[in-house]
């Protein structure tokens, strides 16, 4: 079974993000970039499937600027076998990424595609679902467990108030929740080996996909600063404020 893992290069989750002065986006110049944490979980799961003998090959793929190659190398250092870089001029939108991935899936023929449930930059939470829809494949989102059974996957989803267990037919698309696994550190031997693993580079045109933007960013602003709180003297006052000022009860 081949496993395809689409990954995204984003601003490092530990970096304090700053909005650009002209409100067109966030500052990325001189900012540390890293693999989206949910994508790390996806790579980890694929590598574990390979170690367990369930997967035969793990392919990481990323659509983005040339530097996304560094993120692919990190995936290779975690244990993926090869990489595919779809080089784009700017970060393509979720639908464009889903179309690109569909083309890659048709070319590579994986039985399972594991994506992060969302990227921590734009928090869209769309690509996995769109990809499944475009392919006409079953999808399992926010999974905390995946197991291959005969011709299908037994998955556990994290839903409000509990866990949902489903069986979906292969081939399928799944997206990872935080609790699926704890991603490993890239080991030194794998870091050194990653250099020798192949990365194919292609463009959206090679895949016949139009990635021109369909959305317009109107403005990006900082979230409003949190207002100072107030102390209340009694429960009665608290209830009164919640009811009449905050209007939440």
């Amino acid at each position: 079974m081949k496993v395809l893992v689409p990954i995204k290069r984003v601003i490092d989750a530990n970096v304090k993000v700053r909005v650009k002065a002209d409100n067109t986006g966030v500052e990325t110049a001189n900012v540390k970039m890293a693999m989206n944490p949910f994508c790390e979980i996806a790579v980890e799961e694929a590598v574990r499937l390979k170690e367990a003998g369930t997967a035969s090959e793990v392919i990481v793929v990323s659509a983005g600027a040339a530097q996304a190659q560094e993120t692919l190398r990190t995936g290779l250092a975690m244990g993926a076998d090869r990489g595919i870089l779809i080089q784009c001029d700017s970060d393509p939108e979720p639908l464009a990424v889903a179309k690109l991935l569909k083309a890659v899936v048709e070319k590579e023929g994986p039985e399972l595609v594991i994506l992060g449930k969302q990227a921590v930059d734009n928090d869209n939470n769309q690509t996995g679902q769109m990809l499944a829809a475009l392919l006409g494949w079953p999808q399992g989102t926010f999974i905390s467990k995946v197991e291959k059974t005969d011709g299908s996957f037994a998955i556990t989803r994290e839903v409000d108030g509990g866990l949902e267990k489903l069986e979906i037919k292969a081939p399928a698309v799944v997206t990872t929740d935080l609790r699926l696994n704890e991603p490993r550190y890239a080991s030194l031997p794998n870091i050194m080996k990653a250099k020798k693993k192949p990365i194919d580079t292609m463009t959206p045109a090679d895949l016949g996909v139009d990635v021109s933007p369909r959305l317009t960013v109107v403005s990006v602003t900082e979230p409003p600063a949190r207002k100072a709180g107030v102390k209340v003297a009694s429960v009665a006052e608290l209830v009164d404020k919640l009811r009449n000022e905050a209007k939440v009860i």
Partner: protein
């Protein structure tokens, strides 16, 4: 010239940084409070380090090490330097001098050290012989094929966790241009050897939980098989291998300074006094400017010295410059980080007072700042006949 890191180097940095933040930082406060790393915790760190193939990253692959070059290893040390030494010591980096092991010494010392089965420590200093290494008094006398050792070593870092110690011992004297000097031989001494004792050392202001020990030799009999390298060639052996420890001190100083700086710059951007963020006062912001400039300078000085070693260029002077500047920079940066925090910087709720205390030893061990200046100036003036 290329000042960028390769993909692999960046991944080494990211991996070690991630390891340090996740596996070492959470234990620091406890180690600081208790002055001790529980052995199980140390073993767990070592095991995790082995699992990711980073144990003995400095030793060549053919002996089971990670095979990193000097520059790559220096980057690793820089990131490790961010964490408490009491914990980072378990991120195993056996002494490079073990590569001088010959014959069955490789099986007994080098290979187990690379596998993390045996820990080594290195013993040079004595109560009456610090910088003046060749004035050492701990001496060995030949007795047939054996040597009988008497004397004391002190300030021996992490000998409490060592299974064996690489000890430099006087085995004779010789007349030199600078007067009578000791001839030195390097011995491998197992813990538990009769007549050899490892005792608790002093309580140091720096690196709580990373212990120094006192070694005493009382008619300790060592067979000649315990000699590392050749008889009377210990000083040369040390010079051939121990440059690495100075580079380590420089790199770790840079890492710790960056961590202290991160605290300072974030605090300056948040703390308000007189109605505005203190970073808006030049008195504070210019401190930050000076700090980062000095850290970058020390960083590049250190990396370039390591790069010279990889290129097999002379690097003795450059390593001394890096050690000198990085350790003195660390003292200034940790001091200013506290100044920016005001009183809070002195409290052990923040790690700044610890960084500041820890910084003090860096200017002393592995060759004092004065010895580094001696090395640097000698290299400049000797060729001119001065």
């Amino acid at each position: 010239m290329n000042f960028g890191l390769s993909n692999e180097q960046q991944m080494i940095v990211d991996t070690v940084r991630g390891f340090v933040e996740k596996e070492l930082y959470p234990h620091e406060a406890r180690v600081e409070r208790e002055g001790e790393v529980p052995r199980e915790l140390g073993e767990e760190i070592a095991r995790k380090c082995r699992d990711i193939g980073f144990f003995a990253a400095n030793l060549p692959e053919e002996v089971g090490g990670g095979g990193l070059g000097h520059l790559d290893f220096t980057l690793l040390e820089r990131e490790l330097g961010r964490a408490s030494m009491a914990l980072s010591v378990f991120f195993g980096r056996p002494s490079g001098i073990l590569m001088a092991c010959a014959g069955e010494q490789r099986e007994r010392y080098l290979l187990p050290a690379a596998r993390g089965e045996k820990y080594d420590a290195l013993a040079m200093s004595e109560p009456d012989a610090g910088s003046d290494v060749r004035g050492m008094k701990c001496a060995a006398k030949p007795d047939g094929d054996d040597w009988i050792v008497n004397g004391t070593k002190h300030f021996i870092s992490h000998a409490d966790i060592a299974d064996f110690v690489i000890v430099f011992i006087a085995t004779g004297e010789e007349e030199t241009a600078a007067g009578v000097k000791k001839k030195i031989t390097c011995f491998l001494v197992d813990r538990g050897t009769p007549g050899f004792e490892i005792r608790k050392g002093y309580n140091s202001v720096s690196h709580r939980g990373y212990h120094n020990c006192i070694l005493s030799f009382d008619d300790c009999r060592l067979p000649k098989a315990q000699i590392l390298g050749e008889v009377h060639r210990g000083f040369e052996l040390a010079n051939d291998w121990l440059y690495g420890t100075r580079l380590t001190v420089a790199a770790m100083s840079v890492g710790r300074a960056r961590r202290a700086f991160d605290y300072a710059v974030n605090y300056a951007a948040e703390r308000k006094q007189f109605g505005q963020k203190i970073g808006r006062f030049q008195g504070v912001s210019f401190k930050l400017a000076d700090m980062v400039t000095e850290i970058d300078a020390a960083d590049w000085l250190t990396l370039s010295a390591a790069w010279r070693l990889d290129q097999e260029l002379p690097a003795n002077r450059e390593i001394a410059s890096a050690k000198l500047f990085a350790t003195e920079m660390l003292a200034r940066v940790t001091d200013e980080a506290i100044q920016i925090h005001g009183g809070m910087g002195l409290m052990d709720d923040l790690p700044l007072e610890r960084f500041w205390r820890d910084a003090r030893v860096e200017r002393i061990w592995d060759g004092t700042s004065e010895i580094q200046r001696h090395i640097i100036s000698r290299e400049l003036l000797r060729p001119l006949g001065c």
